[in-house]
Symmetry: C2
Subunit: 104 residues, 2 copies
């Protein structure tokens, strides 16, 4: 049985870099070709490729190849999964009364 901390982290890493946030922001307006994204960012092509890989692995973004080009868009399923994971990670199962917790 494997620890899945890394898998969980992967999802939220999508939102932890300024350029990735800019990319996601652009994708909110609809599907975009990699070349269009590149035009609107101050990074090189290999760096964009690196970020797109991280975004796709997070599940938040989906890629679609069409001939020479690759089109990216926000994945509704991925976003939903992220919401569910966020809930799973942050739901408090027990609430003890204040002061119940003892220390030392």
């Amino acid at each position: 049985m494997k620890s899945h901390y890394a898998d969980h982290a992967k999802v939220f890493k999508a939102f932890c870099d300024e350029n990735r946030l800019k990319i996601i922001e652009m994708l909110q307006a609809g599907e975009k070709c990699a070349c269009v994204l590149l035009e609107n960012l101050k990074i090189g092509q290999p760096t964009l490729s690196h970020h797109m890989k991280i975004l796709c692995e997070s599940g938040i973004v989906a890629g679609r190849k069409e001939g020479k080009w690759t089109y990216y868009s926000i994945s509704t399923e991925g976003v939903e999964a992220a919401h569910n994971l966020l809930t799973k990670l942050t739901t408090v199962t027990l609430t003890e009364s204040v002061g119940e917790t003892v220390c030392g």
Copy 2:
């Protein structure tokens, strides 16, 4: 007018480190003293302090000082804010028909 990418990233950084995920997981069972968290992690005290700072700054975790001790718990408001931010960042505003996007 300031760029808010850093602020947005701050929220999700809470979930991007294995030790922070372990801490959040422990807090799901209820409020915990820092010393208790420390006992259950393979990191030193200054490192825990560093992670707790990041978690508190994300809004996901809240700290409460009581004498010598500091108690941490998951912040319902912070979690809700994270959900809202996630929605804000990922909602697609327009959906053009497939193939509408032109390249080059």
